[in-house]
Amino acid sequence: MPDFFRRKPTFNREDAEHSDGPVVPDGLWVKCTSCKDLVYSKDFERWYRVCPKCDHHARLTATQRLNYLLDSGSFEEWDRGIVTADPLHFSANGDAYHEKVQQASQKSGQPESLVTGRGRIQGYDAVVAATEFAFLGASMGSAFGEKFVRAVEKAVELRLPFISISNSGGARMHESTFSLMQMAKTTAALSRLGEHKLPHVSILTDPCYGGVTASYATVADIIIAEPGAMIGFAGPRVIEQITRQKLPAGFQTAEFLLKHGMIDMVCRRSDLPETIALLLLHYADATMGRHTPGYAHASTGKEGDA
C-alpha cells in the first residue's frame, strides 16, 4: 500500500470555541445528552464532540463541522450575504417570519441555514456546503437553495468535488412552494455536476428529514452517515400519528438505513476526514479528466486547479 493512504489526520480545532454549541471552558465537565454521563470537556473536544463513553455523536454547528472537517485555515466562505426575502410575507399566529429569521440569525450566528465555500480536506480541495441546524432547524428556504446551487455551479467552474454535510428538519414552511421548489433546484444543479464527472459526497448527520433527505442529500455518488443519526422522509412522530404503526427499535437510524441499502457506509466522525480524502483521491482520476494510470497525476489533483 502506498504510504500516503495512511497520512495522519490534521484536524483543526482552534476555532471550536467560536461555535454556538455548549461552551465548555477548560477543566469543566459536560453531560452527554445520550448516556447522561459526565464527560471531561477536553475529552469531549478531543473526540470531536463524540461521547467517549457511549459513542453518541452530538450535533455540531456548521462552524464546528467545517472546523473539524477542513484543514486549518483552508476555508473560504462564499455568498454569506444571501438571505431570505420573505416572499409570502409569512406570519403565523402573530409570529412574523422575518422576525423569526432575525432571531435564528442571532441565535446561530449565521445569516442562513447553509454555509458554503471552498476548503481543503487533508490536502484535497473541495467545495463544501454545511447546514446550520440552529437556524430554523436547517430548513431549506430560498436562500439555502440559492447558496447551494451557486456552490455547485462554482464546483463545476473550478472542477472541484462537492461535499455536502446535512442535517435538517426539512422544508421551510414559511416559504411554502418557494421552499418546495428548492428540492428541484438543488437536485438539478447536482445533475449538472454529474454531467461534468465531478463527484458529490453527501454526509448525513443527526437529524436529517423531509425535503433535504428527499432531494440533494440522497442524490449523491457516495452517501455517508454518522453513527446513530436519525434519517428519513417523514418523522417518527408523524408516522406514528398518521398510521398508528408501532415503529421498530432503531428505526430510521443510520444503521437501519445501511441495512436497508440506502447509504454506502456509517462512518464515525473521527474517521470522516480520512475517508473523504481517500474518496477524493480516487475521484481525482475523473475530476482531473484522466482515466489513465499514474498516482503522480492523481496527487496533483490535490491542488484542484485543472
Binding site: V83, A92, S142, A214
Partner: protein, 293 residues
C-alpha cells in the same frame, strides 16, 4: 368561482372526491391508452397510474397520482399517496419515454407521499430524490398539470416539468394546511389561516412565476368535469406544441437549458453584501422582487 375565493375554499374544492382524477383525464384525452404496471423491483403501486397512449396524434407517456372517488377506491389507491414503488414506477416510465423520445405528461393530485413504516424502509426519500434528478435532465418534452392537490415532495416528484400548469381550484404547497397549522399555530384547526398564509392557490403561484398557466374553471371541475378536462387538454396541447417547436428549432439541449433555468431561478432572496435586489436578469429581479431588509 372567482379568483378571489379564499385559499381554504380552494383547498376544499381541490379535495372534492367528485373532482376528476388522473384516470378521468387520461380516459378522455389519451387515445388507446395502455396502462403499464410495476416498478420491476418490489410492487405495483396503485396510487400512481402510468402508461402509453396517443395525445392528439402523437405518442406520449402519461403518469398521474390516482385518488379514489369513494372510500373503497381510496383504500385501494392509498388515497393517492405513493410509496417508493410508485415513484419508481414513475421513474421507469420517465426512462421509457426518454428512450423512445415520447413526450411526458404528468397529472399531479396527491395529499403527499405515503408516510408509512414500509415506505421509509424502502427509501421514500431516495425514491423522490431520484425522480427529481431524472426529471431535471430527461431529454424529452415534459408537461405537468396540478389537477387537484399538490401536496409537498410527493407532488413534486412527478411535477418538475418544462411547463407546469394548474387548474384554477387546484392547490400546491410545501405542506397541508393542517400540518402547517399544527406546527406553526400549534393548532390544526387553524388550517384555514395556514392555507391563506401558504399562498397555495393557482393565482398565487402564477404571480410567483412558479407555474406557467392557470386553467380556468368557470364552474368547479367537480361540477363540470368534461369541460375542465377538455380545457386542460387544449392547454396541454398548446404548451406541448410550443415545447416541440423549441426542440425542433433549437434542439433538445436548449430545452434542457431552459428547464434548468426555470427551476434555477425559483427563489426569493436578497444579497445583503451587494445590497441590491438579487437576480441574474431583469426578469429574474421581478421574480425575486423583494427588497433587502
Amino acid at each position: 368561482m372567482t379568483s378571489t375565493a379564499p385559499a381554504w375554499e380552494r383547498v376544499q374544492l381541490a379535495r372534492k372526491p367528485e373532482r376528476p382524477h388522473s384516470l378521468a383525464y387520461i380516459n378522455m384525452l389519451i387515445s388507446g391508452f395502455v396502462e403499464l404496471h410495476g416498478d420491476r423491483r418490489f410492487s405495483d403501486d396503485p396510487s400512481i397510474v402510468s402508461g402509453i397512449g396517443s395525445f392528439n396524434g402523437r405518442t406520449v407517456m402519461v403518469i398521474g397520482h390516482q385518488k379514489g372517488t369513494n372510500t373503497k377506491e381510496n383504500l385501494d389507491r392509498n388515497f393517492g399517496m405513493p410509496g417508493p414503488d410508485g415513484y419508481r414506477k414513475a421513474l421507469r416510465t420517465f426512462h421509457h419515454a426518454e428512450k423512445f423520445g415520447f413526450p411526458l405528461i404528468c397529472f399531479i393530485d396527491t395529499p403527499g407521499a405515503d408516510p408509512g413504516l414500509s415506505s421509509e424502509e424502502r427509501g421514500q426519500a431516495t425514491a423522490i430524490a431520484e425522480n427529481l434528478l431524472a426529471l431535471s435532465s430527461l431529454k424529452i418534452p415534459t408537461v405537468g398539470v396540478v389537477i387537484g392537490e399538490g401536496g409537498s415532495g410527493g407532488a413534486l416528484a412527478i411535477s418538475v416539468t418544462d411547463r407546469l400548469l394548474m387548474l384554477e381550484n387546484a392547490v400546491y404547497a410545501v405542506a397541508s394546511p393542517e400540518a402547517c397549522a399544527a406546527i406553526l399555530w400549534k393548532d390544526a384547526s387553524a388550517a384555514p389561516e395556514a392555507a391563506e398564509a401558504l399562498k397555495l392557490t393557482a393565482q398565487n403561484l402564477y404571480e410567483f412565476e412558479i407555474i406557467d398557466e392557470i386553467i380556468p374553471e368557470p364552474e368547479p371541475a367537480h361540477e363540470a368535469s368534461d369541460e375542465a378536462i377538455l380545457r386542460t387538454g387544449k392547454t396541454i396541447e398548446r404548451h406541448l406544441t410550443e415545447i416541440e417547436s423549441i426542440v425542433s428549432d433549437q434542439g433538445i439541449e436548449h430545452l434542457l437549458e431552459l428547464r434548468y433555468q426555470k427551476y434555477r431561478n425559483i427563489g426569493a432572496w436578497v444579497d445583503q453584501q451587494e445590497a441590491v435586489i438579487s437576480g441574474d436578469s431583469p426578469d429574474l429581479a421581478r421574480q425575486n422582487g423583494q427588497t433587502a431588509n
